[in-house]
């Protein structure tokens, strides 16, 4: 079996259509390892996988790469455009470069790792995904986040965690501003343990003790008549 597992399916998007690649990844029993060459910024590369496979994409990708990913590990050796790993269910998505806006949006599970910076609205409406960013994140990170963790090793832009329900936000650098109902919280032992495990899984060298934790003040959960004027 080892011999089969070591075989890598190579797909060159300069020769093969994106639809062919995605359909092959969606077969009942796809090959265990894939190498995708020349993505050249194409949208929707390696989306909708539901299999225990590994896909390495060698270059920059466009929008929605690895969207809806389930179980698979997708690595992008380059930058990713808008909506990386949107609605990821499980598995792992790693980007060596930068990620565009709204990465890991609405993600329900799994792990998304961005080794460079992530742009605005990363982890928007996240529902259980863990997102680890080795660099900095743009404005409105974890907007309306509901569950999961956002780890930022660099700085966070304006309005971090705006309108957050739940989810744990860990930031090592500065936070330009906190969004509505997002507050700094104590970094207790249980959080340090969680953060260390996340950094290790993401293979990001950082000391958990250097981070600060942010989360929901839970003041927006129910209607407050004093806020009526704001609607």
């Amino acid at each position: 079996m080892a011999a089969i597992a070591d075989t890598v399916e190579s797909v060159d998007l300069a020769d093969v259509s994106l639809r062919d690649l995605n359909q092959r990844l969606h077969e009942a029993s796809p090959a265990p390892r894939w190498h995708v060459a020349h993505p050249n910024g194409a949208h929707a590369v390696a989306v909708g996988i539901d299999a225990d496979i590994e896909v390495e994409v060698d270059g920059h990708v466009g929008y929605y790469c690895a969207g809806m990913n389930k179980r698979a590990t997708v690595r992008v050796r380059g930058n990713a455009g808008v909506g990386l790993a949107e609605n990821i269910m499980s598995g792992t998505v790693v980007v060596d470069g930068y990620a565009g806006q709204s990465c890991a949006a609405t993600g329900r599970g799994g792990l998304v790792v961005v080794r460079g910076d992530a742009s605005a609205r990363c982890g928007i409406s996240m529902k259980g995904v863990d997102l680890v960013v080795a660099g900095s994140v743009g404005h409105m990170g974890a907007f309306m986040a509901q569950k999961g963790c956002l780890v930022v090793c660099g700085d966070a832009g304006e309005a971090l965690g705006d309108s957050i329900y739940e989810a744990r936000l860990y930031v090592r650098g500065s936070v330009a501003s906190l969004g509505a109902d997002c507050v700094e919280k104590e970094l207790a032992d249980e959080h340090l343990t969680e953060l260390r495990a996340l950094l290790e899984r993401a293979d990001v060298p950082a000391d958990a003790a250097d981070f600060r934790r942010y989360g929901s003040a839970r003041r927006l959960y129910s209607f407050d008549v004093d806020n009526a004027g704001a609607y």
Binding site: N40, G41, A42, H43, G59, H60, G62, Y63, N79, G81, V82, G97, Y98, G100, Q101, S119, A120, G138, H139
Partner: protein
Amino acid sequence: MCGIVGLFAKTPDVEERLGSLLGDMLAQMADRGPDSAGIAVYRDPAPVGATKLSLFSADPDEDWSVLGDAAVHASHALVVLEGEAAEVQARVRAEHPHLRVMSAGSRIEIFKEIGDPRGFVERFGLAAMSGTHGLGHTRMATESKVTTEGAHPFSTGLDLCLVHNGSLSNHNRLRRMLRREGIAFQTENDTEVAAGYLEWRLREGDTLQAALEACLVDLDGFYTFAVGTADGFAVLRDPIACKPAVMAESDDWVAMASEYRAIAVLPGADAAEVWEPAPAQVYSWERRGEASPVTRSLAETGV
């Protein structure tokens, strides 16, 4: 939706191929804007005391020879006429009222037309155009008619132009204000208002940097702007940054586009530095003399 591309040559080889490369970039953005396409290229400065005009005629049988030595590109023609820009434009408008002046200046040339962007690249012969830098746009109209005049780039004054991805909400009020300031408009298009706004700010003495920063205060809506100048170009995204933009720089060129796939077609794109411009910051490149041919500046606007 709309697509934007920009290319700034850092080597003579890229200058030689500028139109061809810009056309390749534009074709990649065709499905972001299938309604219309347009470019501005900067090249062949007019002699001192003369003005270069890009003119458009809706008449396919237009006799351009009455204007003298005109270089015809499909529905457009380039003419270089003796005289200062204001006087030359007034003369053409008076003598040939059916013609539209798409651009005026020393180096700028604007070509734009309705229809599929790939067809535009062929019809206007982009492959044969050289230039120091250029901008392009593919349009998916959302708020005004699909017409040649409504296509981008829009002239914002001598040797200046604007391309825009997004939409502005307060363009009617701004248009009324700018008309009182003497700025003329040809369409009901929102981007033309942004172009007129920049023209007004620059006329009032703003630098390009200051004029773009003023956009952050006075324009309500979504935008990624690319502004072409005689010596380079500038890029600005609104503070919310809903509209995409990617920038890249190699040893041979600087490029910006709505999406990376438009940059991927450039030679050496694999090895280029690629990044997303931050919201509410002005990025600009320009040529400054021989010793330091290319200068990149990034200013924090603090808005």
